[in-house]
């Protein structure tokens, strides 16, 4: 069966520090991969999605970036975090063809 892993579960970072969140999927190949952000009490905002290695689509211009160095690895990064980057970050994978997305457990990011 397929599983998705996200880490870390929680992270506290100072303003201006760098960020790296990692997501990996097991049990499937060539998945579509997604990064979402969820602000407190709000819905999901799509940040990036990828349909293959090195192929990244950005939905929201900001100081975040994403990379897909391997087929089942998706990384969310920032060179300098802002206070507004606080939130709950969720990684998801999907197979396309009207199949649903499957989500990781999320990373709670707090910026001080």
């Amino acid at each position: 069966s397929q599983t998705i892993h996200q880490w870390p579960a929680t992270l506290v970072q100072p303003v201006g520090s760098p960020l790296s969140l990692e997501c990996t999927v097991e049990g499937t190949s060539n998945p579509n991969l997604y990064w979402y952000r969820q602000a407190a009490g709000r819905g999901l905002q799509l940040l990036f999605y990828s349909v293959g290695i090195g192929q990244i689509s950005s939905e929201v211009p900001q100081n975040l970036s994403a990379s897909r160095p391997q087929d089942r690895q998706f990384i969310l990064s920032s060179k300098k975090l802002l206070l507004s980057d606080s939130g709950f970050y969720l990684c998801a994978w999907g197979r396309g063809g009207h199949q649903p997305q499957h989500f990781g457990d999320g990373t709670r990011l707090s910026i001080l």
């Binding site: 709000r42 819905g43 799509l46 999907g94 396309g96 199949q99 649903p100 989500f103 999320g106």
Partner: protein, 112 residues
């Protein structure tokens, strides 16, 4: 363009009474529709999906939803609420299996 409206931001029911969470969608094509549940500080868990098969869809934990094309609705129901059902619920539409549009969510409270 596709969109989702969840008509209630918050629904409160007593334990043992029926649950109704409303969702209306807009789509130019025959979409796939999904319901997800999110417990605090957790990822989203798939409850059920509609992908153009039977219009009455049964999901996990006793939930079901009915696809009504004439009303562009996909309401989520459960005959008898449990305390463990208290969570945030998201209705999601996808026309192409790659792009997913999330509703703003409905918070379900279950009173003892």
């Amino acid at each position: 363009a596709q969109s989702v409206t969840q008509l209630d931001s918050h629904v409160s029911v007593s334990e043992g009474t029926p649950v109704l969470l409303r969702c209306n969608y807009s789509s130019s094509y025959s979409p796939s529709l999904f319901w997800y549940v999110q417990h605090p500080n957790k990822g989203l868990q798939l409850l059920l999906k509609y992908t153009s098969a039977a219009t009455l869809v049964k999901g996990i934990n006793g939930f079901e939803a009915e696809f009504k094309k004439s009303e562009t609705s996909f309401h989520l129901t459960k005959p008898s609420a449990h305390m463990s059902d208290a969570a945030e619920y998201f209705c999601v539409v996808s026309e192409d299996g790659q792009n997913f549009v999330f509703g703003p969510g409905t918070r379900l409270s279950v009173l003892p």
